[in-house]
């Protein structure tokens, strides 16, 4: 970015809620710390109560957008409307469910002048949960056996079919719950099927320690700037509440093989369990930065800033060498919101613009 240029970046996933935070606010924080006021940050959210939309130190303005379930056209029209007002240069999505739509509309957004740095449809499809084992096999990485299930009756005698409890019950797109017995499994199955549809995936539960790796795929097979973290405390939904940076060449190498197999372009999070034999088992690949991405800024590898540089065709800032041993610990805090700001988001779908603020 030129020194006197002011770029506008729109970021989704501003739902920084305690038990399952979106990554948007953390991404905005990384970018603000890298670029300061040379960047205008537009927060995009789905609910006027998304906390990140109200953090003015990170979001210069905020807009509500239509839910992915409303379809590509509705989302495109809304983004085009916001673009009329904000002149968005770069769009950085942070929620899984948005990716298929945004990947499809990326060429149209580009025509409007909204750039992005996203995977292709094929790349996105290849890392979905129901195809993960196939990808892991191709990349020479271990992964727990997974079975698509279309009826809750499966849990009646699953142990006799070689699937003893505890099992992990997962949605094709999102959500994962550990079921210790038939009753828990059936409850999880129904809840997940109702929200995310069929099939529901059943996965063998791996005992061990969960580690995650975030990085950026360059679209040609290389993984750039990986940052690794081990969870030290989790929320009731298994999301990291505290974690510590680590560095393991074995995990790095597994991630490089996966990114090469995908030829991934864009932000990526690779979730693994280190089992009791010390083997990394691939659990999930998310097509976005994780909510703990601020740790990357902390260890001198600001990945959102690197992504922006790549998207602009610039040389990214040099990365610091891996720095294991930096902890993050989340905390809950209230953001105070004037009624007028809340009203503006509720009624007009946007916060007051800078020019309208006194």
């Amino acid at each position: 970015m030129k020194r006197d240029e002011r770029l506008t970046v729109a970021i989704t996933g501003m739902n920084a809620v305690a038990d399952n935070p979106g990554a948007g606010l953390a991404v905005a924080r990384c970018l603000r710390e890298a670029y300061g006021e040379r960047l205008r940050i537009i927060g995009l959210g789905y609910d006027a109560l998304d906390p990140g939309l109200h953090r003015r130190e990170y979001c210069d303005s905020a807009h509500l957008i239509s839910y992915p379930g409303s379809g590509t056209d509705a989302l495109f029209d809304r983004l085009a409307e916001i673009h009329e007002v904000e002149r968005i240069d770069f769009l950085l999505p942070c929620l899984d469910a948005e990716l298929p739509l945004l990947v499809n509309m990326a060429p149209r957004l580009d025509e409007l002048g909204i750039r992005s740095y996203l995977p292709s449809r094929e790349q996105l499809a290849k890392r979905t949960k129901d195809r993960l084992a196939e990808l892991a096999h191709e990349a020479g990485t271990a992964s727990p056996e997974t079975l698509p299930v279309t009826h809750a009756d499966f849990f009646r005698d699953c142990d006799r079919k070689g699937w003893p409890f505890p099992l992990v019950v997962k949605g094709v797109f999102y959500d994962a719950r550990i079921a210790a017995n038939r009753e828990e499994a059936e409850v999880a199955f129904r809840a997940i099927a109702a929200e995310w549809g069929l099939p529901v995936l059943v996965q063998r539960r791996i005992s061990g320690e969960e580690c995650n790796l975030a990085g950026i795929g360059d679209g040609k097979g290389a993984l750039l700037g990986e940052v690794m973290m081990k969870k030290r405390a989790t929320t009731s939904r298994g999301k990291a509440w505290a974690g510590i940076s680590i560095h393991d060449e074995e995990l790095s190498s597994a991630a490089q093989r996966l990114v090469a197999a995908l030829k991934w372009k864009g932000p990526i999070e690779i979730e693994v369990m280190r089992d009791n034999q010390g083997v990394y088992q691939l659990i999930e690949i998310n097509p976005r930065f994780p909510a703990w991405i601020y740790l990357s800024q902390g260890v001198g590898r600001n990945l959102p800033a690197m992504l922006l540089a790549l998207a602009l065709g610039e040389e990214p800032l040099p990365l610091a060498p891996p720095r294991p041993g930096l902890l993050f610990i989340r905390y809950a805090q209230e953001t105070l919101v004037p009624l007028s700001s809340f009203e503006s988001l509720m009624v007009e779908g946007r916060s007051a613009l800078e020019s309208e603020q006194s």
Binding site: C211, K230, I244, I246, D248, R274, P324
Partner: protein, 93 residues
């Protein structure tokens, strides 16, 4: 795991030497493993043994070093190392 023969006929099974060498040790007894992200604390005796295990794999030399640094006889030093090795083995299983 690495096996080191012990004087009393026990086999001293330790985590691999590269695992021990990578540990970050603090004078306070705080120990951090940069690969697994795990941390734990050890007392002064544990710290003294761990520091030596990072440098040396020969049990006789480790025992001699401990006997020289502390007021302890050979058998007690060897017993302490074997007990501590059990703890390490469980930690890095």
């Amino acid at each position: 795991m690495d096996n080191i023969p012990a004087r009393q006929g026990h086999s001293l099974e330790l985590p691999k030497s590269d695992v021990l060498k990578r540990l970050a040790l603090s004078d306070s007894g705080f120990v951090f493993d940069p690969v697994s992200g795990n941390s734990f604390t050890v007392n002064g005796s544990g710290l003294a043994i761990l520091r030596r295990l990072q440098q040396e794999s020969d049990l006789i030399r480790i025992v001699a070093s401990l006997c020289e640094a502390f007021d302890v006889d050979v058998l007690a030093a060897e017993r302490d190392i074997i007990e501590f090795a059990n703890l390490l083995r469980n930690t890095f299983r």
